[in-house]
Amino acid sequence: MALFQISEPGQTPAPQERRYAVGIDLGTTNSLVACVRSGVAETLPDEHGRHLLPSVVRYRADGGPVVGHAAIAVAHEDPLNTIASVKRLMGRGVEDVRRLGQSLPYEFSSGDSAMPRIRTVAGDRSPVAVSAEILKALKTRAAQSLGVEIGDAVITVPAYFDDAQRQATKDAARLAGLNVLRLLSEPTAAAVAYGLDKNPQGVYAIYDLGGGTFDISLLRLNRGVFEVMATAGDSALGGDDMDHAIAEWIMREAGVQDDADHRQMRRLLRDARLAKEALTGAERASLHVDLGDVKSWQGELTRDELNALIDPLIDRTLPPCKRVLRDAGIRAGEVDGVVLVGGATRIPRVREKVSQFFGREPLADIDPDKVVAIGAALQADILIGNKRDEEMLLLDVIPLSLGLEIMGGMVEKIIPRNTTIPVAKAQDFTTFKDGQTALLVHVLQGERELVTDCRSLARFELRGIPPMAAGAARIRVGFQIDADGLLSVSARELTTGVESSVTVKPSYGLTDNEIEQMLRDSIAHAREDEESRKLREQQVDADRLIEAVESALAADGALLNVKERAEIDRGIEGLKAARGGDDAARIKQAIKTLDGATQTFAARRMDANIRRALTGHKLEEFSATGSKPAS
């Protein structure tokens, strides 16, 4: 039962206001932005009616960066300053990039930071900064389409992305001025797009072969609950590799030397892609390749030849398919449906191999390029609170095990892969020397036993341990993975209760200081005032908190006594008053006060939710009325 809300004159009660939040598919080759309008999720086109934004950024010596089609148009003339497929570099270290080096036509600056920077005429740029440009372009597009500024987004990532890659994505959003409501895995987003329309039950395989990443996930769908059973994949395999295979074939056929320059490689890749796309419908594609210096080559690629070139790549998707089936403990025949995602699944040979493997025709009625963005938009609409009665719930898992370095360069697993998130685990450590006051902790992600075979996420030192005899101290280190799949760490010495200071140094990420610096730089570029940015940020936070508390009061105000209610009301009034002014520090203080006043209320609401969950359940198992929030 809802309480009546009385609004002051001139103030609209927030919950009735229509809010927009977008879903963004930040892809290797193309990116999309989608939004729910009038109850329908659709991708938003640019002013020329194009939905796909090529994930390409060109930096110029003077003027801001150019993103998308305009950047692609001149890519072959300015290859070193035109960054494509940057997603492959997200959260990657210099060493990883060196390994990918063969297929990447950029020059990297060899700084001492673990994060690679791409050398451009506009200066060295991190992959996070490049991705932020793509997100900004999508944000601008959404604002133009919807007529309002967009601040909140659900951004999709491959289910297989590790912590560093997810963190890099979230950092890019922050740089672009977007609040990330949730990082959603791409296959789950695809299932949302299909599931909400058709409301299926059973086990679904989501086969996602995009430009640069492959993901396979098994999801169990049951009365609105989406549960990821298992996920696997390859974060460096996709349609781009097929283009490279075709380009290399052209080079062999045309007798081009192996040391084709960047510009020529670009042209070859473009021709390769066009041939691949043509062969989706046709049996043969003719090629006219400009080799520069007025030379050219003419030839033909048949579908059989194409299949021979790409078969080894498609075959690499099958072992991960086997692995998810095994992890989930089911056979291919028990899968109720296969959903295709990603542009590369348009290729007939891919469909053929997938059908063969799962023994059924895959589903593809939603455009495989758009399906992820559409699912993300549906989820964003729910998270922003437009559908409060929504039954859908996504239960996601971590794709890779999380472990710690122990003696002898070995890894001890703390949280195994495919564990449902959020998850929290604690591990106790002790000192091995008398009077030892610090301890080094190394966190890794991966399935292998040796530290050198896993991915280093962070190293940190626990300091301030009170000096004791060896083995006497008990340091409990807590690991928490949130709903976005991101790790945070805390530590405490148990015998004395001393909180140890933890400094997590991300192995491949940007530090908070670096992000802050980049934000300042980008603002200097846009000639915006630092002060006004801070004020705007606080105002946004204030509005968000006021709305959150007011809607919590509307739903569960009965849990408070008169005195507690009065304190919260005072906090709201205080924040509203501060919000009306232009003092960022005062707003921040008022936010803190209101947040503190709601502490008990929040705990009580959570407790009430647990009671409702069990009570409602016993009375009416899973009926829609039994599990609706009391709003």
Partner: protein, 179 residues
């Protein structure tokens, strides 16, 4: 702040503290709890609510994982009875059980060189599962006797289950290599 002060996993899910549990009902209650406390329900909530929801959901997940799996459930029940298997110094085990484990282990090591590794591995996995079921029954009987002797037997059963579980993992790893 602790979102569910003093509640053990059984209480959190509204079950009596005992070994036998209706796993379908457990899964249903798990989903229902998730619907109520999951961070998605508080994405536009206050910082307080988001933090609590994160802690609570992690707790619900941990509880579900513990109660769902008989070995972990057994360990947890012993924990509630004050038996901490990690802190024990007396780790003596039944010699007959250890002998059997050595045999199973030798067999596992021989799988790779055998004529038909997948079949041998599957047979071995089946044997482990049967032994596991025996130990689960043993635990159930022993734990129902809330006397020191029963608790001791239950503790032994859990230790043996952990051995079998380790074998299970190694079989899994080998299976993965054979794919």
């Amino acid at each position: 702040m602790d979102p569910a002060p003093g509640k053990n996993h059984f209480e959190l899910f509204g079950f009596p503290v005992k070994f036998d549990i209706d796993t379908d009902e457990l899964a249903a209650r798990y989903r229902e709890l998730q619907r109520r406390v999951h961070p998605d329900k508080f994405a536009s909530g206050s910082d307080q609510e988001r933090r609590l929801s994160l802690q609570m959901t992690a707790l619900v997940n941990e509880g579900f994982q513990t109660l769902k799996d008989p070995v972990r459930r057994g360990r947890y029940l012993l924990n509630l009875r004050g038996v901490d298997l990690d802190g024990e110094t007396d780790t003596a085990m039944d010699p007959a059980f250890l002998m059997e484990q050595m045999e199973l282990r030798e067999e596992l090591e021989g799988v790779r060189e055998s004529d038909n590794p997948p079949k041998r591995l599957a047979d071995l996995a089946n044997r482990i599962e049967r032994r596991m079921q025996d130990k689960i029954d043993e635990f159930r009987r022993a734990f129902a006797d809330d006397v020191p002797e029963g608790t001791g037997k239950a503790r032994n059963a859990v230790r043996e289950m952990q051995f079998l579980e380790k074998m299970r993992r190694e079989i899994d790893n080998l299976e993965e290599e054979l794919i």
